[in-house]
């Protein structure tokens, strides 16, 4: 009989390999228009609440505080202000690829001109001594755009 008293039995651990499941995500009309704006016009579109007047980026159907439907579109950016930032130095697994992310890179929260919320994106500077809250930045668009957040390559300090 396996595992009699006194023995130190082997404990088994199983590595899954990658758990892979493909997904399709629907963007719906709001995100679709936002992505079309990036791809086709190199412009950043936001929605404006008819009730409180806040301008939301990324654009969306409903203003949470007002529970009001938004139908008005406005252009924001492409410049804005760093509201906060972090330089990421910890490598972790990119869940979209299963591969480690290469570090360092900088995540930045940009309050685009004309917007009341901030857009998360990358900044092309990873020395924290050269970055400060309040600095102005500008979106750099890629030449080849496919209708995703990465149609903006990153933001740069100006």
């Amino acid at each position: 009989m396996a595992g009699t008293a006194g023995e130190t039995p082997e404990l088994i651990k199983v590595h899954s390999g990658a758990v892979e499941v493909p997904y399709d995500w629907h963007c719906g009309p709001y995100w679709s228009r936002f992505f079309r704006g990036l791809r086709d016009e190199k412009k950043i579109y936001a929605t404006k609440c008819p009730s409180c007047g806040r301008v939301y980026i990324p654009p969306r159907e409903v203003c949470g505080p007002c529970f009001a439907r938004m139908d008005e579109w406005v252009e924001v950016g492409p410049e804005g202000v760093i509201e906060m930032f972090t330089v990421v130095r910890l490598p972790y697994t990119n869940p979209s690829t299963g591969e480690p992310l290469s570090v360092p890179y900088t995540d930045v929260y940009v309050r685009l001109d004309g917007a009341d919320t901030s857009l998360m994106h990358w900044l092309d500077e990873t020395d924290e001594k050269k970055i400060a809250v309040g600095m102005r930045v500008r979106a750099v668009f890629r030449d080849k755009r496919t209708g995703t957040m990465h149609d903006i390559e990153h933001f740069k300090l100006i």
Partner: protein, 385 residues
């Protein structure tokens, strides 16, 4: 001890195989907006929210978080619940608890799913231990198919008995404007449809749908003002069983449904469910379960279900209509499916079921099924408990 609580509003989205026209949050908002309209309320009237789905079907976790604007949860208490196929009723139950406890007066419960985001059967297999049973599981279909082979062997039931259930539910759905599948079918159509997992064929099995449902629960004192005929919650009972699929109790009867429904009947003072219940909305994921599980609802003895089904007892014009809405065989946005059962039962009580209305409904029962073999039961009435 619990505060009396009723359902006063129901909202269902347009359900279909692919809702490409909305993202998840917008789908949720569609159900919420319709439920609020149905109850004549605005979001300001909602004290708390409960929501649920199967996160990994969409690979976007924490719907309670990312849907806040669309669900109306901004600065409100919200909880997410997920219990597999039973999720929709778990969420409904939690909505009921929120009000019955005395903490909140008016509570919104939301179930939803964007099934078209992934391979549903693959996603369902992840409920099975990967090291032990996952490779032998085949999602929801495999075990349901297997258990019917045992039932056939024991009681002489046939594949045609299951087909009769499929025909009933599919054809009932013709009366339901919210149903996903609305095509008239025959027993021959079912028998000729492709085998998915023997003995379950394509038309024996529920589809995958995109959709959402929202219910509004209100306390005594408010419910009567919000609805001319609220659907009062009389009892909710749930039962869960073993960890592994190959357990001793689950193959020839659905022990969890037997125990949950017996408990619910006792609490509601029901001794003869076939006579005393006016309509049932059952979570039947496969037509085979519409045969085998009727016995677990105590409407007949062991092995007697095939005869009752052949006699049409559960048809719209029978003694106890089952699934006037068409049930999950017609519409199956998984995280919403069990909530739709409760919502459809409530519509029957409230007299708002339109072309699928059963006359004079005073007592309605809804069930949910999920996970290994879990069951929930809700009993609603037009009178206060």
């Amino acid at each position: 001890m619990a505060r009396r609580t009723a359902i006063v509003g129901i909202g269902q989205t347009y359900h279909c195989a692919r809702r490409d026209d909305v993202n998840g949050q917008e789908l949720i908002n569609e159900a919420v907006t319709r439920a609020l309209e149905d109850a004549g309320l605005t979001m300001k009237d909602i004290d708390a929210i409960v929501i649920g789905n199967m996160d990994h079907f969409e690979a976007i976790n924490y719907v309670d978080g990312w849907s806040v604007d669309g669900s109306g949860a901004f600065m409100r208490p919200i909880m997410k619940l997920t219990t597999g196929g039973t999720s929709g009723m778990t969420v409904a139950t939690a909505g009921y608890y929120h009000v019955a406890s005395g903490f909140f007066d008016v509570v919104l419960a939301i179930g939803w799913e964007m099934n078209s985001s992934s391979d549903t059967t693959a996603a369902i297999t992840t409920c099975c231990q990967p090291l032990i049973e996952r490779d032998f599981f085949a999602g929801a279909i495999g075990p349901l198919a297997a258990e019917y082979t045992a039932y056939i062997k024991r009681f002489g039931a046939t594949e045609e008995d299951a087909a009769l259930v499929s025909v009933r539910d599919h054809n009932n759905a013709l009366n339901n404007p919210h149903a996903h599948l609305r095509t008239r079918i025959t027993v021959e159509d079912v028998m000729k449809s492709p085998v998915l997992c023997y003995p379950i064929k394509l038309l024996d099995m529920c589809p995958r749908s995109d959709g959402a449902c929202a219910l509004i629960y209100a306390c005594e004192g408010k419910a009567e003002k919000l609805a001319p005929r609220p659907a009062w919650v009389h009892t909710i009972a749930g039962s869960r069983d073993f960890v592994y699929m190959g357990e001793p109790f689950q193959h020839e009867e659905l022990i969890t449904l037997e125990r949950a429904s017996a408990r619910a009947y006792k609490r509601a003072g029901i001794t003869d469910p076939l006579k005393e219940i006016d309509v049932m909305e059952l979570y039947l994921p496969a037509s085979t379960t519409g045969v085998k599980w009727m016995e677990s609802l105590w409407v007949c003895g062991r092995g007697e279900a095939p005869r009752l089904i052949r006699e049409g007892v559960f048809n719209m014009d029978g003694q106890l209509p089952v699934n006037p809405s068409g049930g999950p065989l017609a519409t199956n946005p998984i995280g919403a499916t069990a909530m739709i059962r409760v919502g459809e039962a409530a519509l029957q009580i409230m007299g708002k079921a339109g072309d699928r209305q059963v006359p004079n409904v005073r007592t309605a029962l809804a069930t949910a099924f999920g996970s290994c073999s879990w069951s929930d039961v809700t009993i609603l009435r037009d009178t206060k408990p």
